[in-house]
Symmetry: C2
Subunit: 499 residues, 2 copies
Amino acid sequence: MPVAGLDELRTKLAEVFDVRAAVGLLNWDQEVNMPPKAADARGQQLGTLSSIAHRLFTDRSIGELLKRLYGPHGLAADEAKLVSETAYDYGRATKLPESFVARFAEATSRGFQSWIRAKKASDFKLFRPELETLVELCRERAELMGYEDSPYNALLEDYERGLRVEALRPMFATLAQRQSALIARIVKSPKQADLAWLDQKWDTSKQWDFTLRLLKDMGYDFDAGRQDKAEHPFTSEFDLFDVRVTTHVYEDNLFAGMMASLHEGGHALYEQGLRVEDRRTPLGQAVSLGIHESQSRMWENLVGQSRAFWSHYGEVLRGFFPEEMKSVTPDQLYRSVNHVEPTLRRLEADECTYNLHIILRFEIEVDLIEGRLKTAEVPERWAALMKQYLGLDVPDDAQGCLQDVHWSHGAFGYFPTYTLGNVYGAQLFEQIQRDLPALWEQIGQGNFCALLSWLREKVHRVGRRKLPAEIVRDATGKDPGVEPYLRYLETKYGALYGL
Amino acid sequence: MPVAGLDELRTKLAEVFDVRAAVGLLNWDQEVNMPPKAADARGQQLGTLSSIAHRLFTDRSIGELLKRLYGPHGLAADEAKLVSETAYDYGRATKLPESFVARFAEATSRGFQSWIRAKKASDFKLFRPELETLVELCRERAELMGYEDSPYNALLEDYERGLRVEALRPMFATLAQRQSALIARIVKSPKQADLAWLDQKWDTSKQWDFTLRLLKDMGYDFDAGRQDKAEHPFTSEFDLFDVRVTTHVYEDNLFAGMMASLHEGGHALYEQGLRVEDRRTPLGQAVSLGIHESQSRMWENLVGQSRAFWSHYGEVLRGFFPEEMKSVTPDQLYRSVNHVEPTLRRLEADECTYNLHIILRFEIEVDLIEGRLKTAEVPERWAALMKQYLGLDVPDDAQGCLQDVHWSHGAFGYFPTYTLGNVYGAQLFEQIQRDLPALWEQIGQGNFCALLSWLREKVHRVGRRKLPAEIVRDATGKDPGVEPYLRYLETKYGALYGL
């Protein structure tokens, strides 16, 4: 017997999700297609649509429906979960006035355009006023949402439920200490990869075709998505049958494009793997950015930088570039893919240094939000931390604090989820190797069916039925922790560099 | 002194226009980018967003503001016009219930997908059920809107204010009679163009580049627009700084792509030429499809098929295809562009036969809407009229009644505006030639500045300040009539075919 009000709630939610899908498309188009002079109008459109979505979702009628439906009502488990997840979102959304949502959306649209210009000119000063506005809006947001201890906790909650800055600090301390120690040994190792062969022109249209091949083999459904080019690769979804990835290909960088496609492909498989019956409801959403990132980083690194993967795709790549690769041995290729070297850019950072890029951003973000750092001091602070963690000098803003799009979107509290993704991903992947004894053999044949099935069942199809830590615990039998990731790094790179 | 309520009205209108822009983008994306499996979700999104736009615009608060603002209030002329045009739209929109708008939007989304499949399979039966639904919805729409004499008049009003089927019949009769007579003489003329040279492979990427060159020279602003590929070329605008055209290029057809780009470019220049200060209001809209089409047909035919145009662009085109065109003389090229021959497809129809394609569709539409024709009978009726007007046998549905996208969008009453466009365009262009004595010399240099300035002043910047017939009358000193178009055809083709 259907419970009164549930259908009405579903209808109202569907409308909200449709407006959010339009916001998603306006954003995707802004980064992929939009002509430059349209920026102001697009900002207004995004402001209006975000505000409408917010207004529809925070309508008192939804609150009343939730009140009627909450508690023991003879709801099926999924129905009860639908109600409680909606109530969680409703509780948070109603803390934000519509005017704030519109101001935030317009500021991020202007922020993005400003960031594009500033990055092009490699001049942080061009972006600073918009960054200032965005930081202030995020602090205002934290006050509106409420928090304990640090306003940064209010922002973290948006991306990873229950995550707190006090929990991140010791975790990041362990990672920083063990990864720094590992890097120090690697840099001194005599067993360095020979990278000279990479210094050639790599035809970008062949690279593009190779990325399409990878996505297809992974199981990405091109009838329910597409790949385009964007400055900063990202994944957008407007429905589980419309999940789009972006990548970039550079003539002087063979690996950047394929790694971006593997990464975004991992995100996209998660979205394409949600349940049809959960569409246009909170249950049909990814549970958190940390879990999302566990998927992208798993495909990009744990799979895409493995020896088995390259035993197969090395030969596929050679088919695209027979002349350029004629003298490269499989071992040299594998070592090149896994070359460790502190670099300025997070996006091209290797597995051993990646988390240090995150920890650097985390420290800047916390200090900006807690008011200990002025926006004008960001480049200087960036340079100091880059020196401290990676021993590098930052030559200009484009390669420094302007390299990432996130702040221009007002996304403070987002970066830590990348490291959480590494941590969750490694823990899940240890379990996958136990559950699928033929895994490496299959990967060595470019066959990812069993892996994808495992992820579909344990992660993708869950949607928001479980919290992030529950997903990891139910799949692996253990609470999330940093040991699997550090074990993975130390084992793999210990062998590679003969430590 | 600002009049109370005007700012409030502007704010509410801006919100409506932003939602409509999102609907526009969802539609554009559907035809340019969207993966096939997303069709259902997109239909729902379009339904929801259209319904929201309708709900916002028909909100009682707008009606109350209009009542307060209507009449003598010390409003400036533009402000008064803004109010009266909004009142006109409001009066029509409030006749349509929100549920009808949502049903219509969903039906057109499904209709479009079904049309794509049917056209691919060249099987009208696959599209018939959706066409049936759309015809019924259009009849329902006519009843809701109200009409005199014919329900088709209610539909015409949407595309060309004040146009009536009773006015079209005699106009179409004159055109059909005079154009048929002209064609009969042309077909028998011994002075036929030598088209053998066209039967080659024409590299589509070179064609694409040529279309970009044409758009640029016309004055199309690529910083406020872009060109993409689509099955059926169209123009979309989400703001006057975001006006996008589409075209198609075929390896076996040198002229189709460039003519489509000139045509859509003409539409786009109109939209890019609206006034910034009219943005997000009815004044910042094109006044009618007939005037819109006068712009596209002027660029495509009156300019783009002229001897002066080809004296310049023939050499530009030769630069793209030096081998393929090495034996083609300028006169042969000009005659090839203007080759007259009854064909099955409207989109490739020449100037002399084009209106007959429209009259055929008009007759089918009127009979469908007035209930004298069943949807199942459309292919048969199409074939009969094609035989009657153009003497051609229709071999299959793809080349027959499935060739156009319009019906799949539920756009009945749209086709006649193409012929109105020819008629308005020729009348305006006669005046332009009087006003700009150096016109042909400039066109012969690929210089369209003076022409575009004339159009900007007399047509584009007017927006909805005047009705279609007023625009023509104010620019030319005469009421709109068919004589200028017939005079143009008979003079040009009389000379070409030595009649």
